[in-house]
Amino acid sequence: MTNSIPEISQHTDVIFIIGSNTAECHPLVARHVIKAKERGAKLIVADPRLTEMANKADIWLRVPAGYNISLINGLLHVIVKEKLYNSDFVQNYTEGFDDLEKAVERYTPAYVEGLTGIPQQDLVEAARLFARAKNAAILYCMGVTQFSYGTGTVVSLSNLAVITGNLGRPGTGVNPLRGQNNVQGACDMGCLPNLLPGYLAVTDEGYRARFEKEWHVKLPSKPGLRIPEVADAILGGRVRAAYVFGENPVMSDPDSDHLRHAFEHLDLLVVQDIFLTETARLAHVVLPAACWGEKEGTFTNTERRVQRVRKAVNPPGEARDDWWIFSALAQKMDYGRMNYLHPQEIWDEVRRLVPEKFGGITHSRLEKVRGINWPCPAEDHPGTPILYQGGKFATPSGKANLRPVFFDPVRIPEEVGEFKNALAGKITELPDEEYPFTLTTGRRGYHYHTGTMTRKSWPITQVTPEQLIEINPRDARKLGIEDGDFVRLSTRRGSIAAKAWVTERVPEKTVFTTFHFWEANVNELTVNSTDPAACIPEFKVAAAKVEKITPAEFQAILQEKKKKYLVDLEAEVAGRLKSGRREAHV
């Protein structure tokens, strides 16, 4: 996020939420949005589904899954045409306005309505509301990024914030809501194939030298493989060993059958986790890790707030901290510079290596406050909840870049070639006669990701016990499907079965479901085409078909999935481990 969460309830006058099911996925962010509304702020929500947030919106723009860029360009068009942009800000702090103006010329409200079905009046009103706000904030999530053109969509959102001058002040900004507790931290710490800790490029000799000195090794300069590229690299024989820690890629990755298939070809698969996950069941070696609540360290939330996590109980049996396991393995492999005794030592190494971002965030400071937002270069620096203050941007010129972004569902628009900085996108797999529905994916309020953790909480499984496939009542009627009937959902990659939830939450010709349940994991169906810049898979659109099936057919499919995910193995191994431990105690 460019800004911090509490600013929303304190300073924001107009909140624009796009592609984020905030009430279910980030409930305590949603609370600040509701508090802002109580103070009189206005809410614009763009989402294909009638989510809780859409329900509370002053203006709900029901954009079809995949058409965000058309919508945002439409907003930009109105703001430019009606001269509602912040001309001082544009003049002093940006470059590329003329190109942007030309690029959005075509996206008139009528044209956007033709593409998306969003009523012209709503689009115009939303644009005016946003542009006239004193402080407007944009919140977005994977509904924006999980497309093959996700980067383009984020750039168009930043265009919107920049031309209205909504950056660098309290209550404004372009704010991604990060899905996982420490996804921000994993990126910050360099768990990316092209970036060292602190976002320092591996291709830069100077940055590598910084790490080589501390680590006493020569570092590779070629960027590594990105996760969506791994399956093909394994099948092509280029990758022979994989080490997975704290992730469950055979459930969470797109086109997951393909990845499982690849994993079965590895010479070595090591999985380090707290449970025998669907991925761990395929491993040659499984290493038991300590879990949250059993270990010390830091997490970094979506606001870049670095916070202490603490140990409350001991890990079970022989389970060990992840850092201990990596250190012990490094020593076995004769690498001597990873002999840590406590996470604080590790954090101090990070501070030494990337002082410009983390230098001032010491453990002793973290004992006294509820986190510090990086960048925080010195111990007397308060941290940086708001980026780009005073209109200073992290570009060579110090100005914000405005870049034209184009979209067409079918083909990449030709105009792209006329602009030097432009981005463009199209949908990888459009509905057709055989697969007439658009399938889009996400989460439920009470569950989390692949369900490894939340499905072990009885209050949570009680309220959300099973997978549901959302389908619009008009489509359901045509297919003879009633609420609670079993249906089979298929794409070109596979099929899953679950109960239908007949609901207006989804628009016609769209179906929605989640990846919380192995019984019906939607990632067996998703497309493995990725954004060229960010390599994000296109989870949010695939062409699908829906058929009603009998309870007997459903049971048969369930048994098949149970076999495929080796479901019984978890209980079997847990049983053996338990009896083993008891023997050891006697």
Partner: protein, 142 residues
Amino acid sequence: MLSCSEKGRTERVLTVCPYCGTGCGLYLVVEDGHIAGVEPDSLHPVNEGELCVKGYFGYQHVEDPRRLTAPLVKKDGRFTPVSWDEALNFVAGRLTRIRQESGPDAFVLFASARATNEENYVAQKFARAVMGTNNVDHCARL
């Protein structure tokens, strides 16, 4: 230091929710060395004394009986509990051989958006400094 197995003692340990990126502050209530419940942190600027269902009830996995409690090596297709030494020797030996035969880029590491900063830092350092590859990524995109 904060773990406590003495009978009858209750402790509150300040930490951060392990689920979404909002990062709400909470206390783990520890009784007799076990987690007995969760209380929201009222001084936290983001959650101000509130939590969602996941924050309140999502801790139950920690002491679930299915937790892994020993290193496992698959022998003849069956997971067999072994000592840390045996497991790590096995992995170190295989990784060393694969690196010798096929080069450092024959290794990939999937890091974790769920683990701590320190653990992720050490993981990527393992890939880069020990194995010699930039093949490290995590599910930021998923």
